[in-house]
Subunit: 158 residues, 2 copies
């Protein structure tokens, strides 16, 4: 499992790692990590909370980037395609992927209080997909799992 964000960690390292992996992945795939794309990635990684596309617009504007919705959505789509960020569909928000490059079904826990989110690996994830395929005769192409609740800190505070 990826590092548990609810424990102390050096967050600058998270961002640096993410950008550096992104660069490698783009190189490998022969696509371009343009300034806008990189900046969007960094902003998504600014903390461990899923961020809405429209939250990014003013921050890009501040830095002199163009900031119309299509600009941000294009950058996000690019990053999604490469698996560098994930979309939290229940929040209409985006978050950095902690292990890009690996093709994996994603599972996120999101704290409804503080908004922090943690990506999880779980063997049971693929069991569910396989079960559905066996029982229904379907083909599963994409799997979304999102857990909502309270993180350790917010649980304690309540």
């Amino acid at each position: 499992m990826s590092q548990n964000i609810y424990k102390h960690h050096d967050h600058h390292a998270c961002i640096d790692t993410a950008v550096s992996r992104a660069r490698d992945l783009c190189q490998e795939k022969g696509v371009r990590l343009t300034p806008i794309r990189q900046r969007v990635l960094e902003l998504v990684w600014a903390n461990h909370k899923p961020v809405g596309a429209y939250d990014l617009l003013p921050r890009l504007a501040e830095e002199g980037f163009n900031s119309a919705p299509p600009t941000v959505y294009r950058a996000l789509d690019f990053l999604l395609d490469l698996g560098l960020v994930h979309r939290i569909t229940s929040l209409n928000a985006f978050i950095g992927c902690t292990h890009p490059g690996e093709d994996h079904p994603t599972c996120f826990f999101v704290c409804r209080q503080c908004g922090q989110a943690q990506e999880l690996d779980s063997a049971e994830m693929s069991d569910i997909a396989r079960q559905a395929e066996a029982r229904l005769g379907v083909v599963v192409e994409q799997q979304i799992t999102e857990l909502l609740g309270l993180c350790p800190a917010c649980k304690g505070a309540a």
Copy 2:
């Protein structure tokens, strides 16, 4: 597991059962299944495809019901609270619950081609939540799992 919709079935019976269960549940909980609420439930159950809130508006209008967004969303919220319908968050759409009354984590398979959706039970669902709680020290209050892919018919056609 609930009936597999990809096999032949009498769909009128699906709707009747749903409405009749809704009536019982409302009685039991001391809440009112008003005409609008019942009609929205029936429309959601019109087929096994998740339906958008805005798709319901014109149909309600045809029948002389008020049809502004809040009307539909209020009815849907009511039905969601009682567990009579579920929300497919990745589609911004709603679908009838096949076993209301039971408190259960929901898992849906949705065909990306024809749009039909099937609710699934899976023991692994709660395993995932329990794992997250154990590993992260969190409390899981809600769990969303959605599988996208191809149903038997659409798989065959492709």
